[in-house]
Amino acid sequence: MGKSRTLNLGTGSFVLLGFAALFFLTTQTTSHGLAVFGPPRYEVTAKFDNIGDLKVGAPVSMSGVEVGRVAKIDFDSNEYKAVVLLRLNARYNKIPVDSDASIYTQGLLGGKFIGITAGGADTYLKDKGQIDFTQSAFVLEALIGQVLANFTKSKADEQATDAAAPKPTEKTK
């Protein structure tokens, strides 16, 4: 009896340790904390024209403090807008209804996150509420494209004026 008891004890503690390690890997090294153990939460939606490469699970922060996470991303085919479901920690339940949600980038090329700037209203966002004021993601490619377009356009203008310059009628100006 004694021997089989120590044996079972050893097996049991090994299996327990193994599952503790698996639990650690799934909950602590990833951003998927188990919802069962998480704090109570409430959900609000926000509609954006363009969310860039915002991912489910991205943090939602106010003044740099994480208050929640992006729970779901959907596309509204009536308004042609991205519908982002934010799951916010119930501790932060005094976010004014006229707050503003913007999509920012972590670092220069990091992942996207949502920043909420508090508004001034006296009523607060409730579960299933909606943030009306949103600002789209800053898409680096679009910006580069715009800069390049402006650049080539101004070059073209310059050439046009250069070509036009020798004309005497222009010179009088």
């Binding site: 090994f14 990833t30 998927h32």
Partner: protein, 253 residues
């Protein structure tokens, strides 16, 4: 010369076929053995709990080396804080399962193969057959299942200890900020990475245990034969682990 080549090729095919056949026999017998959990529990202890020390020590040092090397490399790009991500992804997806499986083949696989080989050499297996006890059910399947269950748990323990090893070097010695070490890891490591690691370790557990019990069970019943079976277990396991690693990585991409 071609005849010889052809012969060694057909030999290899025959071997592969009999391994697959053996695996089917093990799987068919597994449900009945699962009811006698005592037998399996003892084998989990033998191949799992007894491998714990070597797994934990190796995990710690592998993690510490990752911390040193990763930090040296990442610092060149001014992103030493990404060390947590690099170490966690490296350990969870690759190093954890692969190194654990290699160590497992060396520590538990050889023990299984030589134990079964010695049983064969000392006629214990024939004696069981004589007493109408199925040696596959009584001896082989519990060892196989014990290895299959122990391996993923060992790999998970290895990864966790390794991450702490990397944290030890990166944060305590090299001065990476602990907060960004963990938070960058959390935002970059997905559940899919962990799943890939677990899938790998399960596959390696099946492969290692199968090879060990097969080599032991069919060992030539001499002292030399047992020695050869043990050697073959390690060599074949190592090659199969690395081959499967490539396959599973490609499948998860």
């Amino acid at each position: 010369m071609f005849a010889e080549l052809w012969e060694s090729f057909t030999d290899a095919l025959e071997n592969l076929g009999s391994v697959v056949h053996f695996l089917f026999r093990l799987v068919v017998n597994s449900p009945r053995v699962l009811l006698r959990f005592n037998l399996i529990s003892q084998q989990i202890f033998n191949s799992g709990a007894l491998s714990l020390v070597i797994i934990m020590l190796s995990g710690l040092f592998v993690g510490m080396v990752l911390g040193l090397q990763g930090f040296q490399l990442l610092q060149r790009f001014g992103s030493g804080e990404a060390l947590g991500t690099a170490a966690a992804i490296g350990l969870v997806k690759e190093l954890g399962p692969v190194v654990t499986a290699l160590l497992f083949a060396g520590r538990a696989g050889t023990a299984l193969a030589s134990e079964l080989g010695l049983m064969r050499a000392t006629d214990q297996i024939s004696a069981m057959e004589m007493m109408a006890v199925d040696p596959i059910q009584r001896v082989v399947v519990p060892r196989f299942l014990g290895g299959v269950i122990a391996m993923p748990l060992l790999a998970a323990i290895f990864s966790v200890i390794g991450i702490y090893g990397a944290q030890l070097v990166g944060v305590q010695i090299m001065g990476v900020d602990a907060g960004s070490f963990w938070s960058q890891m959390r935002s970059a490591v997905g559940l899919a990475d962990v799943t890939e690691g677990i899938a790998k370790s399960v596959a390696f557990g099946v492969a290692c245990s199968l090879i060990a019990v097969y080599q032991g069970y069919y060992a030539t019943p001499t002292a030399e034969g047992v020695g050869r079976a043990t050697t073959r277990t390690v060599v074949t396991s190592a090659v199969v682990i690395l081959f499967l690693d490539y396959l599973i990585t490609a499948a998860f991409l």
